[in-house]
């Protein structure tokens, strides 16, 4: 049997000052790392929830986002009757052109303006986006200057409550509805009737066209047909694939956050290592005594590695505890492809928490290994004399 863990726990408690300082350092590191993980998890979810695998999004060739794309009404006519497109009860193809522009609105709390995606939807637009549900009011009516605001956008911008007036294009628009869509990126958008928008912004063309395929196989066939038609010069992909690409807008955050977390992790490792070296030096005589009692070197090694891991896990738990109140916090980031504000929630999923603890554990392992090795190799006689 090994050296009892209570020996380590009580020593950590005995040297509580050093223990606490080290644990706080680890806590900070773990907090930053899991904050980044939670951010990415929220971002991932926002984009993953968006998009239906049966929907095929069509844009101009060579463009990867809706805002800069444009498709003429003529081309729309050419693709809306392609085989494999579902039809509604009236026998009309489920195909709809969107007009997407970015407008600047005042943020809540008065700290300046931010961009928001404004989407003009045609008659079939809502039918093609069945995930969107009203939480208040009604959908905008064609022919009126009305808008519906996604719940995330509503939280972010001023005057987005029902009855509010927003100014963009050539005049005021009235908020008549608020909608949600399973936490997807649509919740960060504002939707309006397309033809009203087209007139306001002087944009008769569509930004993108959405087609509903009858089956996943038909969806891939549609993508293939449109992509391979040289005359159309259009780019097609499933809506799911499109939003998966957009998730990469989290890449800069992930990268910068990753670098910060890495630097902090090195610091935390050294803090743990330093504390454990001090503990080993302080307890040299105890270690020698244990060896004389018959505990072999591996037992000593294991004991001090465990102590280090307990120390950093304690830090990890502190870090998580400090972060949990922020769970579900809404935050915004700039979608780097459309430059409009993407709103999503920090999500401390069990997966994120488990990763945070594993991270703390690895810090303890790395930081504790050298001191523990040193402890196990120390000469018994030298230690007894000292």
């Amino acid at each position: 049997m090994a050296i009892p863990i209570s020996y380590n726990l009580r020593n950590l408690r005995l040297r509580w000052g050093a223990t606490l300082m080290t644990a706080l350092g680890v806590a900070l590191t773990v907090a930053v790392a899991s904050f980044i993980l939670a951010l990415l998890s929220g971002l991932h979810r926002a984009f993953q929830a968006s998009g239906n695998p049966l929907n095929v999004l069509v844009m101009r060739k060579g463009l990867s986002d809706e805002v800069s794309s444009s498709i003429s009404r003529g081309k729309f006519g050419a693709i809306k009757f392609l085989p494999g497109i579902a039809v509604n009860a009236q026998g009309q193809p489920l195909a709809s052109g969107s007009l997407v522009v970015v407008v600047s609105l005042r943020r809540r709390g008065g700290d300046g303006r931010a961009n928001v995606t404004l989407r003009g939807l045609g008659l079939q637009g809502l039918a093609l986006r069945p995930g969107a549900r009203l939480v208040a009011g009604h959908w905008p009516q064609a022919g009126r200057r009305q808008i519906a605001v996604g719940v995330a956008a509503a939280r972010q911008f001023q005057k987005t409550q029902l009855g509010g007036q927003l100014h963009f294009g050539k005049g005021d628009w009235r908020v008549v509805g608020e909608f949600q869509d399973h936490g997807s990126a649509f919740e960060s958008e504002i939707w309006a009737p397309r033809d009203e928008m087209a007139a306001d912004f002087g944009r008769p063309d569509f930004s993108s066209v959405l087609l509903r395929a009858v089956s996943p196989a038909a969806a891939s066939a549609l993508v293939r047909d449109i992509e391979s038609d040289r005359r159309l010069k259009l780019h097609a992909l499933t809506e799911t694939a499109y939003y998966a690409q957009q998730t990469s807008s989290g890449a800069p955050i992930a990268f910068i956050g990753g670098v910060i977390a890495f630097i902090m992790a090195i610091g935390a490792c050294f803090a743990a290592m330093n504390t454990m070296y001090a503990a080993v030096a302080y307890r040299a005589r105890e270690i020698a005594t244990l060896r004389i009692l018959g505990f072999p070197r591996p037992s000593i090694l294991l004991s001090f590695v465990l102590e280090s891991v307990v120390l950093t896990l304690f830090g990890g738990v502190l870090g998580i505890a400090a972060l949990l109140p922020w769970n579900g916090l809404t935050t915004g980031t700039l979608n780097s492809t459309t430059f409009s504000e993407m709103v999503f929630q920090l999500r401390f999923t069990p997966h994120v928490l488990a990763d945070a603890l594993i991270f703390a554990l690895v810090l303890g392992l790395i930081g504790g290994l050298a001191p523990a090795w040193h402890a196990s190799r120390e000469n018994i006689l030298t230690a007894l004399r000292g």
């Binding site: 090994a2 009580r10 105890e286 005594t289 004389i292 009692l293 018959g294 072999p296 070197r297 007894l384």
Partner: protein
Amino acid sequence: MSVQTSAMTSSSNPAAGAPIVVASHLCKKFQRDSFEVVALDDVSMEIAAGDFVALMGPSGSGKSTLLNMIAAIDHPSSGELRVMNENVFAFNDHQAAQWRNRHIGYIFQTFNLLPVLTAFENVELPLLLTRLNKAERREHVELALKLVGLEDRMHHLPKQLSGGQEQRVAIARALATDPTLLLADEPTGDLDSRSATEVLEILTRLNRDHGKTVVMVTHDPHAATYARTVRHLEKGQLQN
């Protein structure tokens, strides 16, 4: 003593009188800066099973060095040593640790109890390396603490004990695995005379009633009177 001591008087104790330690021509040299320190100079000796040996000599005469070799903690520069018929210098680190755990009880001048563990837990430590289960370990610990008269201090931390009591806990720890050989390096060196007497009486009893072979390093001529055999070291050489 009314205590049941069957668990402590192991049948593995060798027949009294047979040599339990046989040292031949042990030499130990240390290189210090430019000159050589000779800690042991051609030491040959035998210790009989059941003996209580006091190892005396001035500071620096090599007493601890010899004791540590018997405990397989130190190695000689040359010479041979058999302890319980084992060539202890042939052990690797792991074997030496295991062998010490089974056969050697080591008592330090400075007690060396682990400060965060209670008396009970300190005594239990060497038993954690045996196959004994929890209940058996408890039995051994309680018995060992009774033998040193500290059964009522079981759950005290070292800092809640006097020096004499600490040393008695340390003796209980050395006894817990029921070793053949008790090695003590100046066990009374840090104690007042009353506590020292208590410790010496316990060692005497362990030798006389429980058949433990005791090798005790000491400076104190009074302590040496408790031993059956007294050996002197002088500048690393054993005197006759």
